[in-house]
Symmetry: C2
Subunit: 399 residues, 2 copies
C-alpha cells in the first residue's frame, strides 16, 4: 500500500528524535534536565478549569464553526486592551495555533507556491506548508547577528514569482529573536510591494524582555488586508493541552475561505473554548507576572552560558527559547555523549540540536536550542551540566 | 490578495445555506422543527463531565501526539468487546472524526488521485479530499434501491488508474443505509483486486436496527492491511462538541505517515480525551438504550412519511438519517415555501435538501434528508408539517 508523496516528504519531529536515549538514561537512574521541550512547568491559571467545571449544559453540542461568541468577544477585548481593533468575525477559533497555520496555508498556497520563513524556524511549519502543497523557502539568519532577518535586501533576494507569503514567528522559536514595530513595518512594506501575505505567528507576543514594549503586526492597520495573525492560548496561559488557537484577519475574502475549511471540520472543542474565554478575561497583570518569571529564567541561562568558553549567543529578547553555537563540530554527537556516557553526580542534560530547525542542509550542526521552561534553579543546573559535559567531551576527544 | 484554487473549489456547508431563512421564520414568531441538522438532543452521559471535573493536574500540558494512553486503552477494550483485536499503537486519536478523515486523505492521496464515495454522501468528504489535493468520484445510488451500492460491477466501473481508495460511511449519512458483513467482504475483495485502501467511516456503528447485528470492517482481519476505520465519540455518545475521533489501522506504514502529521499538530485536547476515556468505559447496555431511542424515532418518521402520497423511501437500517424523494420538482423551492410562506398553527419545519449531498450535478433535486435527532413527538409533528406543507405547496402551484 503506497502513501502520498506529501507525507513521505514530511519528517518526524526532530526534537523528539533523541527522546528514546533520554528515557534510557532515566531508566538507568540518571536525572535528566529537560531543556529540550517547549512544555512550560508554569501552572495553568485556575480560572480555566473553574470555568469548565461550572459548565452545566446537558448536551456537549457542536459549537459554531468560527468559535463560540463568548470566546471571540473575549479575544476582541484582549486586543482592545492593546489598542487593536478586531471584530468577532475577524477571529477564527482553531484547534491550537497548529490548525490556524494549517488552514491558513491551505487557504493561500497553491501547489508549488512558496512561503518565506527565517531559518532556523519552528519545524512544524514545514509539515503545514507541505500538507497544503506549498514549499518553505528559508531566509537564512546567523547566530552572530542574533538571528535577525529584517533586512530588505536579504528578504527580497528570496522572493520569486512563486512567493505568496512571508511568515514571521515573533518572538521567535527557536531563536527568541524579537522584531521591533519599525522592523514589522519594513516587512509589511516589502509584502505590499510584492503583493504577499504576512503570516504573523505571535503566540509568544507577551513574552518580551528588557523594557521592550509588546508589539504586534496588528498595530499596523494600513496593512491589515494582508496580515494574518496566528495566536494561541498554549504558551501565553501555559495551557498547551487546551488546543485553542486563532487565525485573526481583517481580509473578508481570506476569512470566507477559512470558513469553508472550518465548516468542513465542524467546530473546535466546546469545553476548551469555555475555559479559554475565562483565560482571556484575566487582568493584564497576569502577563507581567509570567513575563517576569521567564525573564528571570532567561537571565540565569544566559549568564551560565556565558561562562562556557567558545559559546556564541546574543541575549534573546523574547519567547522562552535561546539558540547558541557550542564549541563542538557536531552538536548531535555531543548530545549523544551527554545522554549515554556523561553524568555529574548522577545528573545530565538534554537540549534540542538546532540542525532540525534549518531548511538548508548542513546549517546548524554546531548549534543547540534551549527552552527555558523550568524553574531558575533547574535551568542553572541544566546549563552548568552543558558546561561540565563539554569539558568531559573535549577530554574524551583529546582536546 | 488571491486565495488558493483548492479553497476556491470548496463549498460552504449546503446544510447551513437555509439557516438564515429558518432564523428569520423564528424571528417572525414561527416555531420551526429542525429536522435539518445532525446535532442530537440526547444527553451526553454524565461520566464525560464527571471525569473532566475530577481532572486535577496543575498544568494542562500537551498530550502524546497519538493520544493519551488511557483513552487508547479504553478504545482497544471497546473493540475487544466486539471480538476485534487492536493494539494501542493502532489507535490514532484525532480532533473529531473530521481530523481523522483529513489526515487519512493527506496520507494516502497524491494530487489528482481519486477516492470513490457512494453518493449521496456526507458533504464534508469533498472538503477533506480537496484539501489533500484529491478528487471525489461518486458511485451513484438510487432511492428506489434504498441507496445500496455494494455492487461489484457498479463499483468497478468507477475505478480508474488514479483510484486510491473506496470510502464507505456505514451506516450512511444522509441515507441511513447499512452494509452487511458479506457486502463489506465484497468491497474488501474489490479493494484487494485493485490495490485500494478502504476508508471505513463507522461513526454510527452501534446505530443499526431491526435485529441487524453491529458489523465492522474491523471484523475482516484478512484485509486489515488496507482498512482504515474512522471513529468518533460525537454521535455514539452524543458528544459532538467533544471533538474526539480516531483513525484505526493495522498497517504500520500508514500509521507512521499519520504520526508525522500528528506530531506536526502536536496533540488533541487533553481534557476532551480524559472525558472520552470515561465514555468508552461505559457498559454496552448504554448503546442498547440509545439505539432503542433512535429506532423509535425512525419508526415514527417513516410511518408519517408513508402517509404522504408520492413519497419514495425505503426504511433506513441505521444511523439517524433518512433520505426520501418528495413529489415536487425542486425540493429547495419547497423548503423556501415552508420557511417563508407556510405555517400550520404558527409552526413549520426545516429539512436538508439532498442535492448538496450529490457530486453529480442535477441529482437529488427532489430529495430531502431528515435527521431524526429530536424526540418522537417532535419528529412526528415535524413530519406531519412536511405533509401539510406539501398540500399547501401544491395548492399554491395549482396542482
Amino acid at each position: 500500500m503506497k502513501l502520498s508523496k506529501k507525507v513521505e516528504s514530511m519528517q518526524f519531529s526532530p526534537i523528539r528524535r533523541f527522546n528514546p536515549f533520554g528515557f534510557k538514561a532515566e531508566a538507568d537512574g540518571k536525572k535528566v534536565y529537560h531543556l529540550n521541550i517547549g512544555q512550560p512547568d508554569v501552572e495553568t491559571p485556575e480560572c480555566f478549569m473553574d470555568a469548565i467545571r461550572a459548565y452545566d449544559k446537558k448536551v456537549i453540542a457542536y459549537a459554531e464553526s468560527g468559535g463560540i461568541n463568548d470566546l471571540r468577544d473575549a479575544v476582541c477585548d484582549y486586543f482592545k486592551g492593546y489598542n487593536m481593533d478586531f471584530a468577532p468575525e475577524d477571529i477564527m477559533v482553531t484547534t491550537g495555533g497548529s490548525e490556524a497555520l494549517n488552514m491558513t496555508f491551505l487557504t493561500i498556497l497553491n501547489e508549488g507556491e512558496e512561503v518565506l520563513i527565517p531559518e532556523p524556524f519552528y519545524t512544524n511549519y514545514h509539515t503545514f506548508a507541505t500538507a497544503a502543497g506549498g514549499k518553505v523557502v528559508p531566509i537564512t539568519t546567523k547566530t552572530e547577528d542574533g538571528y535577525h532577518y529584517a533586512d530588505k535586501d536579504q528578504i527580497e533576494s528570496c522572493i520569486t514569482p512563486k512567493t505568496r507569503a512571508i511568515c514571521c514567528l515573533n518572538p521567535g522559536n527557536p531563536t527568541g529573536t524579537v522584531l521591533t514595530l519599525d522592523e514589522m513595518k519594513l516587512i509589511c512594506e516589502i509584502a505590499k510591494k510584492h503583493d504577499l501575505w504576512i503570516i504573523a505567528d505571535e503566540v509568544y507576543r507577551e513574552f518580551v524582555y528588557d523594557g521592550r514594549e509588546m508589539a504586534s503586526f496588528g498595530m499596523l492597520p494600513e496593512y491589515s488586508d494582508r496580515v494574518i495573525i496566528i495566536d494561541s492560548v498554549s504558551k501565553r496561559y501555559s495551557a498547551c493541552g487546551a488546543r485553542i488557537g486563532f487565525a485573526i484577519c481583517k481580509n473578508k475574502e481570506f476569512n470566507s475561505g477559512m470558513m469553508k475549511i472550518a465548516q468542513g471540520r465542524l467546530c473546535v472543542s466546546t469545553i476548551d473554548q469555555v475555559g479559554a474565554a475565562a483565560l482571556f478575561r484575566m487582568p493584564k497583570s497576569y502577563y507581567d507576572e509570567v513575563k517576569a518569571e521567564y525573564c528571570g529564567r532567561r537571565d540565569v541561562v544566559y549568564e551560565e552560558l556565558m561562562k562556557i568558553p567558545g559559546v556564541v549567543c546574543q541575549k534573546p529578547g523574547g519567547a522562552f527559547y535561546l539558540t547558541a553555537k557550542l564549541p563542538v563540530d557536531d552538536v548531535e554527537d555531543f548530545l549523544m555523549f551527554l545522554l549515554t556516557e556523561f553524568d555529574d553526580h548522577g545528573e545530565t542534560v538534554m537540549f534540542a540540536p538546532a540542525a532540525g530547525f534549518y531548511a538548508t542542509p548542513g546549517l546548524g550542526k554546531n548549534e543547540m536550542r534551549i527552552a527555558y521552561v523550568l524553574n531558575q534553579k533547574d535551568m542553572k543546573r541544566g546549563t552548568e551540566l552543558i558546561k561540565l559535559g563539554l569539558e568531559a567531551y573535549n577530554k574524551k576527544l583529546g582536546k
